[in-house]
C-alpha cells in the first residue's frame, strides 16, 4: 500500500493538471463586424532627410497592405489623437479606445534610418485591454533603401494579418505573374501583389501565354510559340533560364499545377481534338482524362484535394465550365447558359471563379464579367458590373482576393479586388497586360 500511495498521488495531480485547460466561450449570430484598426504614422527617431523619405514609403505601404487585406475597418487618420506613440510606454490607450478613433487595435512603432541601416520597431496592442501584453512586438533591420522599407512594411503587415485574421497568412509577399507586350513581344512578367516591382522574366522574343507558377515558386509553366509549334514550356526561376520540357505535338495550351507540385494538367490537340491531359511535373507519364467530341481546355485543379479538375468544354456548342474527378469520372456541368471560360479554383476548394457572358449571341448584349460560384450549393455571385470585358480571374492564396484582366479603360490591364468584388484596383499601366496568375504563397 505504501508503494501504491505515491503513484496514486502522482496520478491525482496529473489529472488536475490535465483539467486545467482554458475554456473560451464565444459565439456568433448572423451578422459580422470587422476589427477597427488604427495605424498612425511611425515615429521618426532622427530628423534627417533619409529617415523622412523612407518613413513615407514605409507608412504608405503599411497602410495600403492593411487596408487592402479585407479584414480590417481602418480608422481614418483624421480621428487620431495628436500625440503619436513610438513605444508602448507612450500609448494612451483610452484616447485610442474611445471616440473619436474608437479603435479596437493599434499598430504603431518607430523608424530609424539615420545610419546605413533602416531599423523599425513595431507593436500591435489591444487598446481595450491595455494591461495585457502586446499582441505583437517586432524589430526589423535591413540595409537602408526604399525596397527594404517596403519589404519591412510588408512583413509587419503580414504578421498583423496572420494574428488577427485567424491564422491565414497575409499576401503581402506574394507575386503575380502575367503576360505583357510592353517590350513589343508577349513575355511573362512578374510584380508584387500591389503592382510594385514589375520586371520581365522570359526574353524569348516570341509569344508566351498563360503563365502558371509552381506551388514552391521555383518554376513557371507557360504556353510558348518560340519553337514553331504551340507547346508547354518550363522556366526555372532559380536558374533564370528555360529548362527542357517534352513536346507532345499538336497545340498544347494552359498548363495548371496541382497544389502539391507533382502534376500538371493541360490541354493538347495531339489527337486532333483538344483534350485534357495530366503529366508529372517532369512531363512524363502522360494520361488522357477527357474523351468527348468538342474542345476541352483550361483545366484547373482543386487545390485543397488535388482530386478534382474543373475545365472548359465546348461539347454542347458554346464553352461551359465542367468539373470532374482527376481520373476523368463523375463529370458535372456547372454553368447552364451563355459563354463561360477561365475557371480558377479557390485555395480552400470551396469556390470557383470564372469569366462568364451569361447572355451570349446576337441581340443579347452581354458583358463578360467575373463570377464566383460556391461549388457545394452551386450558387453564384457576380463580382464585376458594367466595366468592360473581364477575364482570367486568379485567386490569391488567402482566399480573400482575386486578380483579373479588364479592358474597362480601353486596353487590357490587370486589376485586383477583394473576393466580394469591392476594392478594385488597377495594378498595371504600360502596354497591354493580360492573363494574371497569383502565386501559391
Amino acid at each position: 500500500m505504501r508503494k501504491i500511495l505515491p503513484i496514486l498521488l502522482v496520478l491525482l495531480f496529473a489529472s488536475f493538471a490535465f483539467s486545467q485547460t482554458d475554456w473560451i466561450k464565444t459565439g456568433t449570430g448572423l451578422g459580422q463586424e470587422r476589427v477597427r484598426l488604427a495605424v498612425p504614422d511611425f515615429k521618426p527617431v532622427g530628423a534627417d532627410q533619409q529617415t523622412t523619405s523612407l518613413k513615407k514609403v514605409f507608412d504608405t505601404t503599411l497602410w495600403n497592405d492593411l487596408s487592402s487585406a479585407g479584414i480590417f475597418d481602418m480608422v481614418s487618420k483624421s480621428f487620431y489623437p495628436l500625440q503619436v506613440p513610438g513605444t508602448p510606454q507612450e500609448v494612451n490607450a483610452s484616447a485610442w479606445a474611445n471616440e473619436p478613433p474608437k479603435a479596437g487595435m493599434l499598430a504603431f512603432g518607430n523608424l530609424d534610418a539615420a545610419q546605413q541601416d533602416i531599423a523599425v520597431q513595431g507593436w500591435l496592442v489591444d487598446v481595450n485591454n491595455a494591461s495585457t501584453p502586446p499582441v505583437l512586438a517586432k524589430q526589423y533591420r535591413e540595409k537602408a533603401s526604399e525596397e527594404s522599407a517596403r519589404k519591412i512594411a510588408h512583413e509587419f503587415a503580414n504578421e498583423i494579418i496572420m494574428r488577427l485574421g485567424g491564422g491565414v497568412n497575409g499576401i503581402t509577399d506574394t507575386k503575380i505573374y502575367f503576360i505583357s507586350n510592353r517590350t513589343g513581344h508577349k513575355e511573362v512578367w512578374q510584380m508584387d501583389y500591389d503592382g510594385n516591382g514589375q520586371q520581365d522574366i522570359t526574353k524569348q522574343g516570341s509569344i508566351a501565354l498563360s503563365p502558371r507558377i509552381s506551388p514552391d515558386n521555383s518554376r513557371l509553366a507557360y504556353t510558348s510559340f518560340a519553337k514553331g509549334g504551340v507547346d508547354i514550356a518550363m522556366y526555372s526561376l532559380e536558374l533564370n533560364r528555360a529548362v527542357t520540357f517534352p513536346r507532345f505535338g499538336g497545340t498544347n495550351l494552359s498548363p495548371a499545377w496541382s497544389s502539391d507540385g507533382t502534376k500538371l494538367a493541360f490541354s493538347s490537340s495531339r489527337t486532333g481534338d483538344p483534350e485534357i491531359y495530366i503529366v508529372d511535373a517532369s512531363g512524363q507519364n502522360m494520361k488522357r482524362v477527357t474523351a468527348f467530341k468538342g474542345p476541352d481546355v483550361s483545366p484547373v485543379w482543386n487545390p485543397k484535394t488535388n482530386s478534382q479538375v474543373a475545365w472548359v468544354s465546348g461539347r454542347t456548342g458554346l464553352p461551359q465550365i465542367y468539373m470532374m474527378d482527376a481520373d476523368g469520372t463523375n463529370v458535372q456541368r456547372l454553368t447552364d447558359q451563355g459563354y463561360a471560360v477561365s475557371p480558377s479554383w479557390s485555395p480552400n476548394g470551396q469556390y470557383l471563379a470564372f469569366a462568364w457572358i451569361r447572355h451570349y449571341g446576337p441581340g443579347a448584349p452581354g458583358n463578360q464579367d467575373i463570377y464566383v460560384m460556391d461549388i457545394a450549393s452551386k450558387r453564384f455571385v457576380q463580382l464585376t458590373h458594367d466595366a468592360g470585358r473581364n477575364d482570367f480571374p486568379s485567386w490569391s492564396p488567402d482566399n480573400r482576393h482575386i486578380v483579373f484582366q479588364s479592358d474597362r479603360r480601353g486596353r487590357w490591364q490587370i486589376y485586383s479586388m477583394l473576393a466580394d468584388g469591392t476594392q478594385q484596383r488597377e495594378l498595371t499601366q504600360s502596354g497591354e497586360n493580360t492573363q494574371p496568375n497569383w502565386s501559391f504563397k
Partner: protein
Amino acid sequence: MAASTDIFTEREGISSPLAVSLVLHGILFATILIYGFVLNRNSGNNWGGDSFGGEAMSATLVTNIPLPRPQVETQNIVANESKGLTESKPKEEEQPDVKAIPIPDKETRKKPKQITSTITKPKPVEPPPPENKVPFGEGGPVSGPYGSFSTTTAKGGFGFTGGNGDFGSRYAWYVRAVRDKVSQNWMKYEIDPRIGGSKRAYITFSIDRNGRPGDVQVEQSSGVPSIDISAVRALQRIDTFGPLPQDYSGSKVMVEFWFDANR
C-alpha cells in the same frame, strides 16, 4: 413399389410440334419488329444527345424558396385550461362527533420573566463589503474577464471557466479571431430557410498549440438539425485559427461556441 412402365418406347413425331413452334415464334418476332418500327419510331433517338443535357447540374441564383406556410395551429381541446362540462364533487367535510368529551389540557406552568440587562455589548465594527461582492440574486453577468472586448452587435460575448482562467482576458484578440473565423465559415444558406428563430446551438471544440481545431461536438442542440449540422460543418472547414499566443503556457484551449440563427 409401383410397377414401372417404359414410357420411352412410343416415339411421337417431332415435325408437327416443331412447325407449330416455328410459326408461333415467327409471329412473335414479327410483332416485336412491327411494334418497334411502326409504333415507337421516334423514341430513343435522344439517348445521350445534347438536347436533354442530362449530365448538367443547373445552377440558378435563388434568394429563397417559396414554401407553403405552416398550417395554423389549432389548440388542443383536451389540454385546454377552460372548465369542462362535468363538475367534480366537492369533498364532504367531516362533522365533529357530538358525543365526544374534550380531554382537559394540562395546566401549563408559567415561566418567570427573564431579567435582561440593559447594558448592550458594543457591536464589532463591520468590515466594508469587498468590492467584488455580488449581492444574492443580483449577480447578472460576472464582471471581470467577461466581455473584456466590446462588441457592438451584442451577438458574441465570451467568457471562460476552469484552468488559469485568464486566456480570454489576456488574449482577447485571439478569441476574437476565433469568433470571426468561425463566423466566416458558417454558411448561412445551409440553414433551413423556413426557420425563423431557434435556440442557440452550443458546440465545443479544442484548439491545439498550432491552432488546429479538434474534438468538435454538439454540446447542446438548437433543436433544429440543419443549424447543428451547419455549425459543425463551419468548424470542419477550418484548418487553423493560427498558433496560440507564444507566451501562453497551456497546450490547448477548449472553446464553447454558440451559434445564434435568429433572423
